[in-house]
């Protein structure tokens, strides 16, 4: 590496230098075709880097340098113009909207391209269209805004949203299902680093022809995040801030203490009053436990940004402070992010050097997951505390006091993420550019968990403390050439590059110890513990070095601005895979035809642009992999007596599979982009077929052949087929009033095609063990050939018998009170039919109003929470939902998980409504000032009986609500944007 830097410096030294300087001043005014001033239009003196932008009144001043200069006016969404600068005269320029977004620049891998020249399926969202609200991660900005992306998130400030692009195409969960995030060109950078307010645009690369350049990590799509940078000539200072109040959007309707007492009296089994200890479950109280553990969370975000662009130098820095207080007491996220970048062009533009530094420090407080179940079932007949001090308890093995769970257990993580990126771009000759980008990222996490002496999770242990640290590092070199050449009617673009990445994951240590003499220090000083022999647990560190080496190339060819062609190839090597399959090739080809450029459509003046796109490519999924996954491993299998001492036994804990390789996804995409009536209506439609083979699964192997019962191997196939539609319309546009409306719709069909390979043959795999009384051997979902992931395989509810007892329809059709697993049947699935997003922006003079609706239809949710709650015969020690009011007290089967609890997940949500007012300011120091107020999740229309139908759609077992759901929230927000 050092050698490379040295060579580069040498190269810089020899590059030619040319700087001129002269001065003439021109003033001007830019409007749109309706006569309204346009702010932010870039005005550049042609052939130079002299550039300014227009202010809020559309005015600008620029010094041209020489007479006869030509000014270039460009603005996103408008047709650029060149106007000769006549000295001394004010220039008035009208820009016309070019309709749609055809000329917008789209960020692709290792480069960028005009939207009109794109042959793949790429959706771009810019900051004004991002979701508003208390938002901690980029994924949430896109929810409902990009057709084909399915984002689900609970109200937990610390939970990452689950982002699934074009249907699940893996059996693995977590990061294996998530798209690859590329932040300012750095692949797989931590998304915690970027404050949402710092993001300018997000481009979502959906099909293989767009993503294949990222090879073995691109199968779930690629999300390209571009942070904001000042335009040429701009210097600015901006302050964005909001404060928000968040509440739970819904509470489950449970019995009050009085209702429960009355219910039990009515059924001849009243509670025993008493209030001394856990043996009694009634102290004549009426406690609403959901109220006790929930709060109004006041959250705030402040972002200060300043930056400038002198043409040759671009600099910018921002500080963001985010404090998200959860609606569940004890849960919160605080994050401070800092971003600084500087970029300089030298040697007559032959060299561009850049340095970007990102840092984020966050503190997460989490609460035990048992709170969610216990806030529902803990007896409302008990007080929070009995006899003044001690938290009330139920009889041992009963539910746990949710207030005590929060008060006596702490779980705090501190994470520090740092990324530095150095960039050098050299113009070797016209059209040929070389880019070298070096990135270093470090993530350090410290987690401290303490279950104190009163904790019911560590009864009688006098405090259990766990302290651990983990450090992950990433080093990345991207080195590539771009060549761009026009000759005649031909345009050709070439890309060739090499990438080297090394991730070291999981370095660190962790200790769990117990028995403290008080609760004052806990995990902060483990030395105060007095652990009995054998109770100290040292974390089993798993340091993994993952090395990825890739070669990639791409060709773009455009003929006559009409026929577009692209081909790309990436050769990816990964150390995580079996010795026999280290390397894989990921090709893609695509073509586009701009019909609107054909002579036979020239007469159609209503048609601005029409393009057909077809692409095919293969991508891989190697995300979320233990670097040693393919090797035989020995681990600690327990202890045994050796010379009378219990020492570690070390044995095989993983079978080797030298043939293991990545999941491979082949995508065919057919699409069209169009723009009509001068941009009043534009949009795109895409149809895709995505087939993933070599799915990775831990397959059970014959115990007569292997010492370890499963083998991680490649089996089976899954397909996703779907249609996506995006429509952008401007139904009304006058000088004072504009209505812009965007509709996205996506339909996906997910289907398992095979669960077999040459070695293993299986028709179905049972998943989703939910437990529950007497059901600890039952599963609730099945992976079965011909059905989608998330298919429910449960009992069929057959009504109640005369005694009021729930019956299940047995496999032979008869009703039974004692169903077995043989009586399970397939009862629908968790995959949505249609995802809809409808965004409307109205501007009237200084006011702007945004109304965003989101809908999901056709999915099923298994409300296992309600099933578990609906247990009348347990009402002596767990509370009942008001749903149970009409249930027979004798129904000993009421809680059995059956299709009685399988509900429609269809909903329509007014996701966000924002009203903004831009203060008319005529001040040289303040450019723009806007106040806004916003409500998130204003209302929801749904028949779902649980807290919220937005149950995670990710993982192998989507669509299950099982008492582990952090409630959704409704938030009210007040914000300000000021630009100086």
């Amino acid at each position: 590496m050092k050698a490379i830097l040295r060579l580069l410096l040498l190269a810089l030294f020899f590059l030619p230098v040319a700087v001129f300087s002269q001065s003439r001043t021109i003033k001007g005014f830019v409007t749109d075709s309706a006569g309204a001033p346009l702010e932010g239009v870039s005005v550049t003196v042609k052939g130079t880097h002299k550039s300014v932008v227009t202010n809020a009144e559309g005015r600008f001043t620029i010094s041209t340098g020489s007479p006869g200069a030509i000014l270039e006016f460009s603005y996103v969404g408008y047709i650029s113009r060149e106007v000769p600068a006549s000295n001394g005269t004010a220039v008035t320029v009208t820009l016309t909207s070019r309709g749609g977004q055809m000329n917008d620049v789209v960020v692709t891998g290792y480069g960028q391209s005009a939207k009109k020249n794109i042959t793949g399926s790429i959706a771009s969202i810019s900051s004004e269209d991002f979701n508003a609200g208390v938002i901690s991660t980029p994924g949430e900005l896109l929810q409902g805004k990009v057709a084909g992306i399915n984002v689900t998130k609970s109200g937990d400030p610390n939970e990452q949203p689950v982002v699934i692009l074009r249907g699940a195409s893996t059996f693995r969960s977590g990061s294996a299902q998530q798209p690859l995030y590329v932040i300012d060109g750095v692949p797989d950078a931590s998304i915690d680093l970027v404050a949402p307010s710092d993001i300018a645009t997000i481009d979502v690369l959906k099909d293989a022809s767009a993503t294949a350049i990222y090879g073995a990590r691109a199968a779930n799509g690629v999300i390209m995040i571009t942070t904001r940078k000042p335009k040429t000539g701009q210097t600015r200072l901006a302050y964005n801030a909001y404060v928000s109040a968040e509440q739970v959007s819904k509470r489950l309707s449970m019995f009050t203490g009085n209702q429960l007492r009355q219910y039990l009296i009515n059924n001849g089994s009243p509670l025993v009053p008493g209030n001394s200890s856990g043996d009694y479950d009634d102290s004549l109280a009426n406690t609403n436990w959901q109220n006790q553990v929930q709060q109004t969370g006041i959250s705030q975000n402040h972002n200060i940004y300043f930056g400038g662009n002198t043409g040759n130098t671009i600099y910018g820095a921002s500080i963001n402070y985010f404090d998200n207080v959860g609606v569940m007491k004890g849960s919160s996220l605080q994050r401070t992010s800092i971003r600084a970048n500087v970029e300089h062009r030298m040697f007559n533009d032959h060299l561009r050097l850049g340095l970007t530094v990102l840092n984020a420090n966050s503190t997460s407080d989490q609460i035990p997951s048992q709170v969610f179940e216990n806030m529902l079932i803990f007896m409302p007949t008990l007080n929070v505390k009995e006899a003044g001090s001690a938290y009330s308890t139920e009889y041992p093995y009963g539910p746990l006091n949710p207030v005590s769970l929060i008060a006596n257990n702490t779980d705090q993580s501190k994470m520090k993420t740092f990324l530095a990126n150095a960039l050098a771009e050299v113009k070797i000759q016209p059209g040929l550019k070389y880019t070298l980008s070096l990135t270093d990222q470090t993530t350090d996490t410290t987690t401290e968990i303490y279950e104190d002496s009163q904790s019911e999770l560590a009864r009688g242990l006098n405090g259990v403390a766990n302290s651990s640290t983990t450090s992950n590092t990433k080093e990345l070199i991207e080195s590539f050439f771009n060549y761009d050449h026009n000759f005649g009617l031909h345009n050709i673009k070439l890309l060739g590059g090499y990438s080297w990445e090394q991730d070291v994951l999981g370095r660190g240590f962790g200790v769990t110890t117990q028995n403290f003499s008080n609760d004052q220090v806990g995990p902060n000083n483990l030395a105060f513990s007095n652990p009995p022999a054998g109770t100290i647990v040292l974390a089993n560190s798993n340091i993994g070095t993952l090395k990825l080496i890739s070669y990639y190339a791409r060709v773009n060819y455009i003929f006559n601005d009409k026929y577009l062609f692209q081909a790309s190839l990436r050769d990816d090597g990964s150390s995580a895979f079996g010795a026999n399959n280290h390397w894989g090739l990921f090709p893609a080809v695509s073509g586009g035809w701009r019909l609107s450029k054909e002579s036979f459509l020239q007469s159609a003046t209503w048609l601005d642009d029409l393009k057909l796109r077809v692409g095919y490519g293969v991508t891989g999924n190697s995300l979320g992999f233990d670097p040693l996954i393919a090797q035989q491993q020995y681990g600690i299998t327990g202890r045994f007596l050796s010379n009378g001492e219990a020492i570690n036994a070390i044995g095989v804990t993983q079978n080797a599979n030298p043939d293991l390789k990545w999941e491979s996804t082949a995508t065919t995409n057919i699409g069209t982009d169009f723009s009509l009536w001068k941009g009043l209506l534009s949009g795109s439609v895409d149809y895709y077929i995505k087939t993933t083979s070599n799915l990775i699964w831990s397959y059970p192997v014959s115990s007569t052949q292997y010492p370890y019962p499963d083998l991680t191997t490649n089996i089976g196939k899954i397909s996703n087929k779907g249609v996506e539609l995006t429509l952008i319309a401007t139904p009304v546009k006058t000088r004072n009033f504009t209505w812009r409306s965007t509709l996205t719709a996506a339909h996906n069909t997910n289907k398992i095609l095979s669960l077999s390979n040459s070695q293993f043959n299986e028709q179905s795999i049972n998943t989703a063990f939910l437990g529950g009384q007497g059901q600890s051997d039952n599963w609730s979902q099945i992976l079965q050939v011909g059905h989608p992931i998330g298919t429910f395989d449960i009992w069929h509810y057959a009504g109640k018998n005369q005694a009021g007892v729930t019956q299940i329809e047995a496999a032979d059709g008869a009703d039974t009170l004692t169903p077995t697993t043989a009586d399970f049947r397939i009862e629908g699935n968790a995959q949505p039919m249609l995802l809809l997003g409808w965004n409307n922006t109205f501007t009237y003079k200084q006011f702007d109003l945004n109304v965003f609706f989101r809908a999901v239809t056709g999915n099923k949710i298994l409300n296992a929470t309600l099933a578990g709650l609906n247990n009348p015969s347990s009402a002596h020690f767990q509370n009942l939902p008001t749903f149970s009011e009409s249930e027979s007290f004798n129904d000993f089967n009421s809680y059995l998980i059956s299709d009685r609890y399988l509900e429609s997940g269809t909903y329509l949500r007014l996701d966000n409504a924002t009203l903004g007012y831009t203060v008319p300011i005529h001040s040289p120091s303040v450019n723009r000032m806007r106040f806004y107020t916003s409500v998130n999740n204003a209302f929801i229309l749904t028949k779902y009986k649980g807290i919220d139908p937005e149950i995670t759609q990710g993982g192998l077992t989507p669509g299950i609500d099982n008492s582990n759901f952090y409630p959704k929230t409704r938030s009210y927000l007040l914000g300000v944007n000021v630009i100086f």
Binding site: Y498, S702, Y708
Partner: protein, 573 residues
């Protein structure tokens, strides 16, 4: 300028090519053991043998523990132990009920997990034989290989006893799919292998070999096999059984402990003089002893100073108790928990209320006035408020009665009979006789309820009673250390230790089964004994008996049949 540009191009090109030089994907292994770095040292080899023993005690990947899943296969299928459902709880898909009723299937969770447990142990032993064979020559090499093979033979014995016909695998890696072999061949394989190992196995009996395979473990295992040979292979081997017993009785440093209870106490271990081979457990270090967790001391946990109440699940069959625990003076009777429960003398809390010094363990009841009708038949005089054991009432708003905890012998299905459900109120929870033979451990892990009691597999009393049985079945009595050991002599060694009435000349082969029931209750041998005596098809509890003799061996799990085409399902499944 053109020249400059060329130079620059060359330099850039050079930089690019240099950076492309890194094409190697090999990465260092820093925190894991793989075949590249393990085992190498002598400590490695010591640690490498460990998985055999941890696997026996608690095979976490198969989810199988000797004292839980294996134990259930051998005990819940007999009259010694039963887990009824409690208002749906402890039904767990019927797994305990199926064992009790002899209606298990090839998918039964324990049938599946014990197969994985056994063959995982066998594969591990075979792979370790390779590891030791490849190790440099040393004095410990031969004994280490012998120990590993003896443990493999023990796993083989467990598998042969449970599943009958199983594949014989003695190499690793396993090439192809091993095929099912008849039980007689498996027997012959184990016998031959064990006999060949005898010269190399350790004869040391102390803390250093406690819980490890020794020569005496091999003798005891062979004695067990020979005693059952008529059933396993069709050929009786009673004389061989006696000879194996004598190998232990003459040369082994074993003696019966004076206190029967200490053999199973939480403090048991190398100090017990009669244990030949035990599975060592530790509440924290070697988890997996949960005999007491299921043993049901819910309401009496303060009596045993337990950190928390145990589960109410498991008890014994009333018939089993009453048929067998009938000897006058037998202290083994006291290891069952029956009838009303009182605090021990040293736990006299609230003594002023009970001047008699007998303090009942109490549980509050629901108000009597609205007592469910189903109870009135059972506790007939309850409604009058005169039932013994009801201590006092409180006033408004409801009257409350406190009840002296009282474990009743019989199990009455007041819940759903098809689920073998006894109901789940305090009376139902107190139905059934509980065992405290593996004495409740106050130092158990308060989270997992794992206890410190080691679980014996072979002990001297078994060697003695097996010898007595072999003689009663046809072998000749032999003289050991100057005493002619007739069956009566052997039985009385066992009986006199527990103060039971001594056996007389009427002691016959039919006396053996009740004697073993008393001595080895809940030690995992009842199924083996019942089958040998032809009584496994008998009726007890809710099991109506008369099942097929095919049920004497368990089925090959259906998961295994689908993964290995050369396995043959056992007859009748």
């Amino acid at each position: 300028m053109q020249i400059m540009k060329k130079i620059v191009s060359v330099i850039i090109g050079g930089a690019f090519l240099l950076s492309m030089g890194c094409t190697k994907l090999n990465v260092p292994i820093q925190s894991q053991y793989t075949p590249a770095n393990f085992p190498t040292t002598s400590s490695d080899f010591t640690a490498a043998i460990g998985p055999i023993y941890t696997g026996l005690a608690n095979n976490s990947s198969a989810g199988t523990r000797y004292a839980v899943e294996y134990w259930r296969m051998q005990e819940l299928s007999t009259d010694e132990a039963i887990i009824p459902a409690r208002n749906g709880n402890y039904d767990d898909g019927g797994q305990y009920r199926f064992l009790h009723l002899h209606t298990w299937s090839p998918d039964h969770i324990d049938v599946v997990s014990c197969w994985e447990w056994g063959f995982s142990g066998i594969d591990q032993c075979n792979s370790l034989v390779n590891v030791f064979n490849a190790a440099p020559a040393s004095a410990s090499k031969g004994p280490a290989i012998a120990e590993v093979k003896a443990m493999r033979d023990l796993f083989y014995f467990f598998m042969m006893d449970l599943y009958g016909n199983i594949p014989i695998i003695d190499t690793f890696p396993v090439v192809g799919y091993p095929a099912t072999q008849p039980r007689a061949q498996v027997f012959a394989f184990i016998e031959k292998d064990l006999l060949s190992l005898l010269p190399s196995l350790s004869t040391t009996v102390d803390a250093s070999t406690y819980g490890r395979a020794t020569k005496y473990m091999a003798f005891a295992l062979l004695e067990k096999m020979y005693l059952n040979a008529a059933y396993y292979t069709g050929t009786p081997r009673y004389t061989d059984a006696v000879s194996m017993a004598d190998s232990i009785l003459i040369n082994g440093p074993y003696s019966l402990d004076a206190n029967y209870g200490s053999v199973f106490a939480p403090t048991n271990g190398p100090g017990v003089q009669e244990t030949i081979f035990a599975v060592p457990y530790d509440a924290n270090l070697i988890p997996g002893d949960q005999i007491n967790r299921y043993g049901g001391a819910t309401y009496v946990y303060p009596l045993y100073n337990l950190p928390q109440p145990e589960s109410v699940a498991m008890s014994t069959d009333s018939g089993f108790y009453h048929q067998n625990f009938i000897l006058p003076g037998d202290t083994r009777d006291t290891f069952w928990v029956r009838g009303p429960q009182y605090y021990f003398a040293n736990q006299q809390i609230e003594a002023s209320l009970y001047p008699s010094g007998i303090i009942p363990i109490l549980q509050n009841l629901y108000p009597l006035a609205i007592f469910p009708a189903s109870y009135t038949a059972l506790y007939a005089n309850y409604t009058s408020g005169t039932l013994p054991g009801v201590y006092y009432y409180l006033g408004a708003p409801y009257d409350i009665a406190f009840w002296n905890i009282n474990y009743t012998d019989s199990l009455v299905l007041r819940g759903d009979p098809s689920k073998m459900d006894v109901g789940d109120d305090v009376f139902a929870q107190c139905e059934g006789i509980r065992s405290k033979k593996f004495y409740p451990d106050p130092n158990e892990n308060s989270q997992t309820e794992d206890a410190n009691n080691d679980v014996p597999v072979f002990r001297l009393a078994d060697v003695l009673l097996m010898k007595a049985e072999a003689i009663l079945r046809g072998a000749s009595a032999t003289t050991v250390k100057g005493t002619l050991q007739t069956p009566v002599v052997l039985a009385n060694i066992v009986r006199s230790r527990v103060g039971a009435q001594l056996a007389t000349s009427s002691f016959s082969v039919d006396s053996i089964l009740p004697e073993r029931a008393r001595e080895f209750a809940w030690e995992g041998w009842r199924r083996n004994d019942l089958i040998r005596f032809g009584l496994f098809e008998g009726a007890w509890g809710f099991n109506l008996g008369n099942g097929s003799p095919d049920l004497r061996i368990y089925p090959v799990p259906s998961t295994e049949l689908s993964l290995n085409p050369n396995l043959v399902q056992n007859p009748g499944y």
